[in-house]
């Protein structure tokens, strides 16, 4: 019995070390300080990632817009060139008297050779790209979302469309009639 009591006392004293363990003063403040720091770090990290995400989104949109514009330009450029190419040869050649008149006035006349050199570059560009010539210019593009919405609105509520005003009617111009000069006037002018 005495041995049991003595053992209990020794064990209790041994466990008291754990029971009565005390941290260094200011434990709560240190913990709170650490938590505040952690909270600030998390907040700043959140802002940083938000800024990075926003910048990335802007970059993606910019790249997408740039790529879209480039694609449109590439589609339009050959059609413009190919439309222009046949125009030059179809220009009516200056008649012989007119050419003689221009030569007399020292005006340079484009020869067939010089015209061909002028024309060679764009024609070659058009043929080298070998892009299909669109039937219409500008080439039709798919409707934008706003345009589709406007079209749907116009189909469902046609009354909201503006009525064609009188100003939009086709202008008809009467033929101009100029009276021929009389012989008397001609004589008078001829004397002068």
């Amino acid at each position: 019995m005495r041995i049991d009591d003595e053992f209990d006392q020794v064990l209790d004293d041994a466990l008291a070390e754990y029971r009565e363990a005390e941290p260094l003063a200011g434990l709560e403040e240190r913990v709170l300080q650490r938590l505040r720091l952690q909270s600030e770090q998390r907040r700043s990290l959140w802002w940083r990632w938000s800024a990075i995400a926003a910048a990335a989104a802007v970059l993606v949109v910019a790249v997408w817009i740039g790529a879209r514009d480039r694609t449109r330009h590439e589609v339009l450029a050959p059609s413009v060139v190919q439309k222009q190419a046949p125009i030059e040869p179809q220009r009516p050649p200056a008649s012989a008297p007119a050419r003689d008149d221009m030569v007399a006035k020292n005006i340079p006349v484009a020869t067939t050779a010089s015209r061909s050199t002028h024309m060679s570059a764009p024609v070659q560009l058009a043929s080298s790209e070998a892009a299909p010539m669109p039937e219409r210019f500008p080439s039709p593009a798919p409707l934008k979302p706003e345009e589709r919405m406007l079209l749907a609105l116009a189909m469902t509520h046609p009354e909201i469309l503006p009525v064609k005003s009188a100003d939009d009617r086709e202008i008809v111009v009467d033929p101009i009639n100029i009276k021929p000069l009389s012989s008397e006037n001609r004589d008078y002018q001829g004397e002068n």
Binding site: F7, V10, A14, A16, A21, V31, L35, S39
Partner: protein, 168 residues
């Protein structure tokens, strides 16, 4: 506003339970610095996870602390050696010295107990924890907690007696 409320709750939890959390951590680690590190880690987790749905805050904190401390114990650590206390002078000096020696022996014997007996015994030393809360911390039944504490005491008594016999 919600953030301010959350912070106020957290501050209350820190001020009410930080010392208790330290004791639980120290009971496992027996090292003040490591125990304080565990306290910091516990509250960082509380901050991250929040305290919504926690019914028994003390038991929940004890469980989190215990697990973190045991994890830390399995890593290499510095040993916190207790400072040697000066021997007292006087007629009872010999008796006091002998008592301290026995206490020191028991502490070493506690450290040699298997974990399943040592942890219930150490947690039972925390006056703040009852057997139901200890069972929640350890994930065993209350009757198992009581049985393990009893077996730990028996084992310590036998070892101490064997040690005393060997010294005679």
């Amino acid at each position: 506003m919600a953030e301010a409320d959350e912070w106020a709750t957290l501050e209350t939890v820190v001020r009410e339970h930080a010392r208790f959390v330290f004791k639980v951590a120290y009971g496992v680690l027996r090292n003040s610095h490591d125990a304080e590190d565990v306290v910091q880690e516990v509250y960082l987790r509380v901050h991250r996870a929040g305290t919504k749905g926690v019914e028994d805050m003390r038991a929940w904190l004890a469980r989190v602390t215990f697990r973190l401390a045991v994890d830390r114990l399995r890593k290499p650590q510095a040993i916190d050696l207790p400072e040697a206390e000066p021997l007292s002078q006087g007629p009872d000096a010999e008796h006091v010295a002998m008592h301290r020696q026995r206490v020191s022996q028991v502490q070493k014997l506690i450290a040699t107990l298997p974990e399943e007996l040592r942890y219930p015994l150490l947690l039972s030393a925390m006056e703040e924890l009852n057997s139901r809360q200890i069972s929640g911390v350890l994930g065993i039944t209350e009757s198992s907690v009581r049985g393990r504490i009893f077996r730990a005491r028996q084992m310590l008594k036998e070892k101490l007696a064997a040690l005393s016999e060997a010294r005679r």
